[in-house]
């Protein structure tokens, strides 16, 4: 139902998530992320959500958990180009300002520069 494509760039994990993040399968993403957190030295995550078609509250909670986990290390979680339905979900949850949401790579580079994070 959904796919994850992982790209590691030094201090960053870029995860492209496509398809439908339904509750019945979202645990697979959670397991995958737990594995990455355990083995990777990266503390910054970019979730590319351009092709995420659907997300349940369980799915949203996974992103929240990653942000909480990485927050301990001053890590950054960026959501890249989430669609209208995902933005609606954030709005319902009152979490529009909880994540860094960027629609352009230049904005991401600017954010990282502000935070003195080198790619």
């Amino acid at each position: 139902m959904f796919d994850v494509n992982r790209i590691t760039v030094r201090k960053f994990e870029l995860l492209e998530i496509s398809g439908k993040l339904v509750t019945a399968e979202a645990y697979k993403l959670e397991d995958e992320i737990d594995k990455i957190l355990a083995e990777s030295s990266a503390i910054n995550f970019i979730f590319d959500l351009r092709n995420l078609e659907y997300c349940s509250s369980y799915g949203l909670r996974i992103f929240i958990k990653v942000k909480k986990d990485l927050g301990i290390y001053d890590g950054v979680v960026i959501l890249f180009r989430p669609g209208e339905s995902f933005m609606k979900l954030l709005e319902i949850a009152g979490l529009e300002d909880y994540f860094y949401i960027k629609n352009d790579w230049n904005n991401i580079i600017d954010l990282l520069a502000d935070k003195s994070i080198n790619l």
Binding site: S57, S85, I92
Partner: protein, 137 residues
């Protein structure tokens, strides 16, 4: 048009609901946003029932009855799990940020925000949750 679907209290059964919404939505020409909202509301309600409604190992049925009209759909979800009225729970999404529970408050918030009306009854050992959802134009 009325339709009924019965699922068991297994999280895998949610896939049947998704297929049902997709096929029925196409049949009566619901637009994508309406199908999305209907599916999301049902997934959140049923996830709560499946995860919290029954003791572990208990197998049970959940009945979902639909009535589609010209501009809204009435859904009644019936289960024999432990009594649970989602309307009695005061929900704040930020509660979920301070705890590690996987299901619960956020789902209820979604149900409340996306539904036009919600009514809960407990009758003869059954939870009856009635939800009215407006079609997106």
């Amino acid at each position: 048009m009325r339709k009924t679907i019965v699922i068991s209290n297994n999280i895998e059964e949610l896939k049947k609901i998704e297929r049902f919404v997709e096929l029925t939505g196409d049949e009566i020409e619901l637009n994508g946003k309406t199908k999305y909202n209907l599916n999301l509301i049902l997934e959140e309600v049923l996830t709560n029932i499946i995860f919290y409604g029954f003791d572990e190992g208990i197998r049970a049925e959940i009945v979902i009855e639909f009535e589609f009209t010209d501009n809204e759909v009435f859904v009644e979800i019936i289960d024999k799990g432990r009594p649970f009225n989602p309307l009695e729970r005061n929900v704040d999404a930020h509660d979920d940020l301070s705890e590690d529970t996987k299901i619960g408050g956020l789902g209820i918030l979604i149900i409340k925000k996306l539904s036009k009306e919600i009514e809960y009854k407990y009758i003869d050992g059954e939870n009856h949750l009635l939800i009215t959802i407006e079609y997106h134009v």
